[in-house]
Structures are given as structure tokens and as C-alpha cells.
Amino acid sequence: MSDRENWFIDELERRGVSRREFLGFCTVMTSALALPAALSARVAKAIQGAEKPVLVWLEFQDCCGNTESFLRAARPTVADIVLDTLSVDYHETIMAAAGTQAEEALRTVVGDKKGQYLVVVEGSIPTFESGAYCTIGGRAAIDIAREVCGGAAATIAMGTCAAYGGLPAAAPNPTGALSVRDAVPGIKNLVNLPACPANAENITALLVHYLTFKYWPPLDEFGRPLFAYGQLIHDNCERRAHYDAGQYVEAWGDEGHRTGYCLYKMGCKGPVTFQNCPRVRWNEGTNWPIGCGHPCVGCAEPDFWDKMTPFYNHLQGPPFLGPGYTVDRVGVAATAGIAAAFATHGLISYIKRSREKPEPAPATPQSTDAKKGDAV
């Protein structure tokens, strides 16, 4: 084993992580990423052998939830090491330096490590008012994003805000907030890791994948890694048997709710949301929203603030009509309106016709058949 690897194993042991636990972690990561088991050795090697790649974490119009989620990264002691595997040279929430010293740290990375560093962006990017809705050190977020993401080896848009605009971009989008993809078109190797916030398990899995293979996992149409967003919540949900059976929670705290019936009628968005929540769950597998009796709100989907609301109705109402206008309510009303209109029409026709003098009786049906060649 090389010195570097020894250093790493020593390091692990100092932290009370045995070599075996570490390899176990690598196996777990390998399976989280759905990689063949033989690759787990390669994951281990990649983690310990790598030069610490530099990571820059930018926060724009965010709530810091993804940073907090990152701090909850699972497989505790070893996740800590995964952090050490990176050199986090800029992250406003945790870095010691402030002000000019912090700005300098960022400048150094962008200047010295061009094309080699990773960027995480948390939060959306405002475009109205020349970007004055989010400035850092007097610079507009969009400027910083262009420069920093533009020079990066890869960018992770972490959380729904960075990936799709998220909450700040919800109607009426007062600040012209955009996702990273829309604000800085054409940047290299952009991966969206949505959810509000992104799950620590998926954050770790994504980084390990990149560190191991130096490329990003396959993505879907919305730029999300398939390993975490390839299947519907609904298709992996522990309450699915109750859904199929027709057993639903009807009121909060009712017998069905306590028994773990399906939350569909309470507004669950599991049927239209892609994420691996039911399988990896949250906080080291402790629980997840549906596990705790609350419907999924679809937090990993683009525009879920507008498309999944009202949250307690599983079907969105026609947009812009406001709460209370369900599709069925509008549909029934429209159908009733049509029926009423035609009933009126029928009545008027009847009255009009009965007032007219009877026309000569129309020809009787036993008339000749149309012949070939008759015009139409």
C-alpha cells in the first residue's frame, strides 16, 4: 500500500473507524450507486488515493437547507472522511475567513485551479434589478456564478432552487429567479440534485461516484442522476399495498392514518414525484415524510411550488384559479353550464318551431338511394 493510502487508513483508525468499517462503507456506496460489487474496491481506492479535489460551495437565493442536509450526511464517521477527501475552499456557512479574506479564497481557486475544481450551487439566481436581489461582496450572484461555474470542472445544482429555480421562482417570481442551468447556459458537466433540500444520502453518493469515476452518472431529461431519481416514490412506497387495495387515510389521526394506510386522498404527490426517498429514507434511514404520516409534496420536481399545490389535494387545480378550484369542481360546473345552455337552446328551438306554420311534411324516407357519382 502506498504511503498515501497508509495515511488514509491511519487517519481512519484515529477517528475510530476500522478498516473493515471503511470497506463496508464503500460497499454500501457501491450498491447505493447500483454499481457491480467488484467495483467497491475501486471506490475505496479512489477515495483514499485521490488528491483532495477542491470544492467551492456557493449560496445564492437559498435557505441553507442543503448545507444543513450535507451536515447530516449518513454513515457518520466515514461521511466525515468523505468531506476530508475534498478540500472545501469556499463555503460561507462553515469557512473561518470572512470578508476580503473569504473573497480572496474564492479568487485563488478560480485563478489557480481553472478547470479542475468542483462547484456546488445552492439557491436560485435572481436576474431582475441587475442582480441586486442577491449580491455577495458587492457582486451580483449571476456574475459570480458565470465566473465560478464557468471555470469549473463540474457544477452540482444542489436542491430544487438551484436545479429548477425552486421557491424564489414560484409564481409570481418577484426577483426573476432562475436555475443554474438557465442563468448560466452552457456550463460544463451540470448535474441537478433536486429536492428541498437534497437528501444527504444522494449528495454523498453523487460525490463518491464522481470521485471514483471522474464522470457523472447518467441523467434523466431533467438533468437528475437516475440512481436517485429514476423511479416514482409511489412505485416504491411502503403504503402502496394499501393504495392498490383501496385503503386510504380519510382524516388526520383516523384509524387508517394510524394503521399506515395510503395518503393519496390527503394529497400525496408520490404518484408524480421521482426520488428514492422510500428506499434510502432520511437521516440515516430513520424515517421519511410518508413514513411519518404526511403526504409527499413532490419536493424534487421542477416547479413543485406551483405544480404540486394545493398540497393537500393530490391533483393540482387549474392554475391561477386559486385554492378550492379543483379540476372536478370546474369540470362539473362547466358540464352543468353546457347542459343548461343546450337545454335552453332546445327549449327555444321547440318554441320557435311550434310557432311557425307547419311546413310541408318532409319527404318520406322511402325515397331513392343515392347513386354513384352524386355530388357531395
Binding site: K52, E59, F60, D62, C63, G65, E68, L71, R72, D80, D84, S87, D89, E92, T93, I94, M95, A96, A97, A98, G99, Q101, A102, E104, P126, S130, A132, Y133, C134, T135, I136, G138, A140, P168, P174, T175, P197, W252, G253, H257, R258, R281, W282, N283, E284, T286, N287, W288, P289, C292, G293, H294, C299, W305, P310, F311, Y312, G322, P323, G324
Partner: protein
């Protein structure tokens, strides 16, 4: 006169910019500005009030529960829903664990590096560190070997040459006063706290599905079912897990956090003389011990003016207003007005310099924060305010702990009005809450034993049961202080929504009569040894635990 700008202020939540005039080694004047706006109050308009908590929760991912709580309380207040006892207890448990975890993370991961010199820790003697640690606590991780391990790990980290988040800081600055051994101990606890916070917050996952951004709140109660006989509900097994985590939380607070705060504080007693701020303290009160709007609160509400601990005024919510004379907003009736949140307006109007810029025009408007006032006065909110009001109202446990701390540090109660006072008050509050949690858990278990399984007031779930026009206010004590949400509901949809958040109170700019906000006032007189490395400014600002995503929203 030197004009200094600290932007970004780091190790906080959000985007804060401090500008200050320094002369004679002291801050003479200061301006606090937040440079990020999202407009969540505007985004809420026209939506279903039952959805609002999910939106407002995303005001902040650090204090991830508080805007959810304030929101459901505001809507419940408007529509007249009364959550049953189990919902109240579940909420109390969630709120308390939020405060405990948030305070510890603040101390170790956001604040400590202002007091602790990591580089100095490299030269610590592990054996002496061990005796220091053992002299202040019986925490088991205290052997010389353990500290040697931490030091070597730190060495290894430094020797690899990539300092990552610890690069470029103020190490070696003369304002750092701790001996190397104390620094090493603090570094060890920085790392332990990182593991601890991830562990204890699982209480939120059990009771709320996940953390951050728990997902079990409901207008009218909680979505978490309780039933001792059901595997999909909170039952004896899950209660036991919560119990274990609560114990773990208390253990660390009592045996690591409190002793560390006392140890660090004893080297920085001069900071009991800086950072006092506006001297007015506002508390809404928290932890209802019974149902309904008049239920007694475990931490009492009240207002203290002019540092007068002999008198706690009754809180009158109608005295609360917000001004925008120095904020990038306009008011319909003129920017000089002070509006109560029920009449509140959020009309962003940027008039600052076009980015990129070097200086803000601090004579004009200079922040995305509004300026909240109580009876026209700026108010400090937060753990210090809560502990002062509790202390002055005769809260037994708070009085006892405050007394102990003052005595251990050998200072008088006036020391509380300071940067150091905030650090101490936060620690005391953490202990009080860590001790209290078990009681609420016991009450929950007792209810379940009696087969009281209600967690929600279903009667008010359907919007057709609501008045067509209603207003409500929801108050909450968030980790950083008094939080209020005000909602106006018309025909089942939100007509207006206003939040006044702890960090709006504390970090807000000057008002129409040029009264400084609490951050600004607290900075006056703060010593600055080297204007190029203003670590002292960070100390006072960090003592408030800023959260600007909250403050502006």
C-alpha cells in the same frame, strides 16, 4: 477614520454585509445590510393557507421548524382551530430539539472559531489538555491519548497543505486569548459536536419525517399518528428512540457545551464589556403547557426596556410595527410610515448602487431588511432576551442557572448585557430545554396510555368551515428569538402574509428617526485591533447568531 466592509460575513446563515467606521481602535459607527431578497411574502399571496407552512418553512433551512410552527399557529389563530394536547406536545418536543441542536451547532461550528485559534491547537500538550478537560467535566472522551489523536489528525490535515475551510482566517491574531490546550480541547469538541448534531436531530426524523425541513406539520395539529398498538404510529418503540436521543442531547449539553462555554468565557471576560446593543428585550414566550390561546408558557413573554431587570412589561402585539425608511422597499402611504403587520406591505424597490459596488449609500436605503420596532423602539430578541425576561420574571430554573454562571465567572448581572452575555444565555437556555424535553415526552406517553390518540383538530380542516374573512397571528420563540407571522385570509386564500423574524429585529437597519438596529448599536465601541482583520466585529455579530435568509425572507 477607517471605513471597513465585511462582506460576506461568514459562519452565519445568509448574506450579511457590515460596514463600519473605525477610529482609535474602536468602532464608531456601523451599518448592517442584508443583500439577498426572495419575496416569500409575495409568493404566498393567493395560495391555500394550509400550504403556507411548507413555503415559510423554506425561509430557512437552519432553523428549519420555526416558520412552519409560526405559520400554522397564525392560520389556526385565524380560523379558530385548536390542536389537541398530543399535537402540542409533539410540537414542543420538536421546537425544543431544534433550539438545542441549533444552539450547539452555533457555538461550535459558527461561533467558536472567533475565540478558538485552530493553529495554536497544534502546539498543545495532550496530557495537559487532558487534565484541563478533566478539571472541568467528567466527559469520558478526555484522555491524553484521545487529545493526541485529535492533535495528530489536525497536524495531518495541516501538513497536507490544503486548509480548506480553515484557510485564510485570522489565526495568530492578538485577540485570540486561549492557551493551546484549551484550543485543542475546543477543536476536539468541534468534531464531536459535528457527529452529535447529526445524531440527536433524528428526533426530528422520528417525529417529523426528516430533517432539514420536517414534513409533519398541519394546520390544526400534527400528521404524526400516535398509537401504542400500531406499527405505523408513534409507539413505545419509537418513543424509546426519542428518549435515548433526548438523553444523548442532554448529556453533551451538560457535560461538554456548558463546561466549554464557561472555560472559554473565563479567558474572554473583557467581552462582558462590549456589544451591549440597544438594551431593550422582547420575548413572545414559548412552550405552551396547556391548550388554547391563554395557556401558560414555560418560557414567559415580556418586554424589558433600558436594561431594567426590575420591571418586565406585558407584551402587547399591537405595538409592533415595521419601517422601511432605510430599506429597499416602498410603502403605499409613504416610506416614513410605521405599519403594523396586519397592514404590512412588501413592495421591493431597489435604490442602492448597481452591482458590482464597493460602498453602500448608508445615508439612504441600504438593506433588504425592514426595521421592526416595538412601541417605536428597536428591540433585541433571542436567547439573551428570553433568559433576561425569564430571570426577571422569576423563572426558578433560569434564575438558578444564571446565578451559577455569573458566580462561576465572578461577574455581576450587568455582564449579561454584552457579547459574552449572549453566548452564556444561549448555553443556559440550551440546558434548560435539554432538561425539560423528557417531561413532554412523559406527558405524551401518559396520554397514549389513556388512549388519547388525537393529533389533529379535524373540525377546521375544510375551508368551508372558515369565516370568509379572517386574520390571525402566530407567535413563536425561534432559536434566534421572537418570531411572528401575520396572515389575512379571504375566501379561503391568503390575501396578505407578513413575517417579522428574529433576525429582522436584530439585524435591521436604522429607522425613520435614525435609531440604529441592535447589530449596529452593539458594534459601537467594539475594539478593532487590525481593521484588515476585524475578528472582533465577527465576535459581536456572531453572538447574535445571524440568519439573514430568515431576516429578509
Amino acid at each position: 477614520m477607517t471605513h471597513i466592509v465585511v462582506d460576506p460575513v461568514t459562519r452565519i446563515e445568509g448574506h450579511l454585509r457590515i460596514e463600519a467606521e473605525v477610529d482609535g481602535g474602536k468602532v464608531q459607527d456601523a451599518w448592517s445590510s442584508s443583500t439577498m431578497f426572495r419575496g416569500i411574502e409575495l409568493i404566498l399571496q393567493g395560495r391555500d393557507p394550509r400550504d403556507a407552512w411548507v413555503f415559510t418553512q423554506r425561509i430557512c433551512g437552519v432553523c428549519t421548524t420555526v416558520h412552519a410552527i409560526a405559520s400554522i399557529r397564525a392560520v389556526e389563530n385565524a380560523i379558530g382551530a385548536v390542536p389537541p394536547p398530543n399535537a402540542r406536545l409533539l410540537r414542543n418536543l420538536i421546537i425544543a430539539m431544534q433550539a438545542v441542536q441549533d444552539h450547539v451547532v452555533h457555538f461550535y461550528h459558527l461561533h467558536a472559531l472567533d475565540w478558538v485559534d485552530i493553529v495554536s491547537a497544534l502546539s498543545a500538550n495532550p496530557a495537559r489538555t487532558s487534565s484541563l478537560a478533566e478539571s472541568i467535566s467528567d466527559w469520558p472522551l478526555s484522555s491524553a491519548k484521545y487529545f493526541a489523536g485529535v492533535r495528530d489528525r489536525l497536524k495531518g490535515f495541516v501538513e497536507r497543505g490544503q486548509l480548506g475551510p480553515f484557510a485564510n482566517a485570522y489565526w495568530g491574531h492578538p485577540a485570540y486569548k486561549l492557551p493551546p490546550e484549551a484550543n485543542l480541547m475546543a477543536v476536539a469538541h468541534y468534531l464531536e459536536a459535528l457527529d452529535w448534531q447529526r445524531e440527536v436531530i433524528k428526533v426530528h426524523a422520528i417525529l417529523g419525517g426528516k430533517n432539514p425541513h420536517l414534513q409533519s406539520f398541519l394546520v390544526g395539529g400534527m400528521a404524526t399518528p400516535v398509537d401504542p398498538d400500531k406499527q405505523s404510529s408513534l409507539n413505545a418503540d419509537t418513543l424509546a428512540s426519542v428518549r435515548a436521543l433526548i438523553t444523548k442531547a442532554h448529556d453533551f449539553v451538560a457535560r461538554v457545551y456548558i463546561p466549554d462555554v464557561l472555560a472559554v468565557a473565563s479567558f474572554y471576560k473583557d467581552w462582558a464589556g462590549y456589544g451591549a446593543g440597544v438594551g431593550n428585550y422582547l420575548v413572545y414566550g414559548e412552550y405552551p403547557e396547556d391548550e388554547g390561546p391563554t395557556a401558560p408558557l414555560f418560557l414567559p413573554p415580556g418586554v424589558i426596556r433600558g436594561r431594567d431587570l426590575t420591571k418586565v412589561e406585558r407584551l402587547d402585539p399591537s405595538q409592533i410595527t415595521e419601517m422601511v425608511s432605510h430599506s429597499w422597499y416602498e410603502y403605499d402611504g409613504g416610506d416614513g410610515k410605521a405599519l403594523h403587520p396586519f397592514q404590512g406591505e412588501t413592495r421591493p424597490k431597489y435604490t442602492g448602487p448597481k452591482p458590482p459596488y464597493d460602498r453602500l449609500d448608508t445615508a439612504a436605503k441600504y438593506s433588504w431588511l425592514k426595521s421592526p420596532r416595538y412601541a417605536g423602539l428597536p428591540m433585541e430578541v433571542g436567547p439573551l432576551s428570553r433568559m433576561l425576561v425569564a430571570y426577571a420574571s422569576g423563572h426558578a430554573r433560569v434564575k438558578e442557572l444564571v446565578g451559577t454562571v455569573l458566580q462561576k465567572l465572578n461577574v455581576g448581572p450587568e455582564a449579561l448585557f454584552s457579547t459574552l452575555g449572549r453566548v452564556a444565555a444561549r448555553a443556559i437556555e440550551t440546558l434548560v430545554l435539554a432538561e425539560k424535553q423528557g417531561e413532554w415526552l412523559d406527558q405524551l406517553a401518559a396520554n397514549m396510555a389513556r388512549h388519547d390518540l388525537r393529533t389533529h383538530d379535524n373540525a377546521k380542516w375544510d375551508p368551508s368551515s372558515w369565516p370568509s374573512d379572517a386574520t390571525g397571528a402566530g407567535f413563536h420563540e425561534a432559536p434566534r428569538g421572537a418570531l411572528g407571522h401575520w396572515v389575512h385570509i379571504r375566501n379561503g386564500a391568503i390575501a396578505n402574509y407578513q413575517c417579522i423574524v428574529p433576525s429582522t429585529w436584530n439585524a435591521g437597519p436604522r429607522d425613520a428617526s435614525s435609531q440604529r438596529g441592535p447589530y449596529e448599536e452593539a458594534l459601537i465601541g467594539t475594539p478593532v485591533a487590525d481593521p484588515a482583520k476585524p475578528v472582533e466585529i465577527l465576535r459581536t455579530i456572531h453572538s447574535f447568531d445571524p440568519c439573514l435568509a430568515c431576516g429578509v425572507h
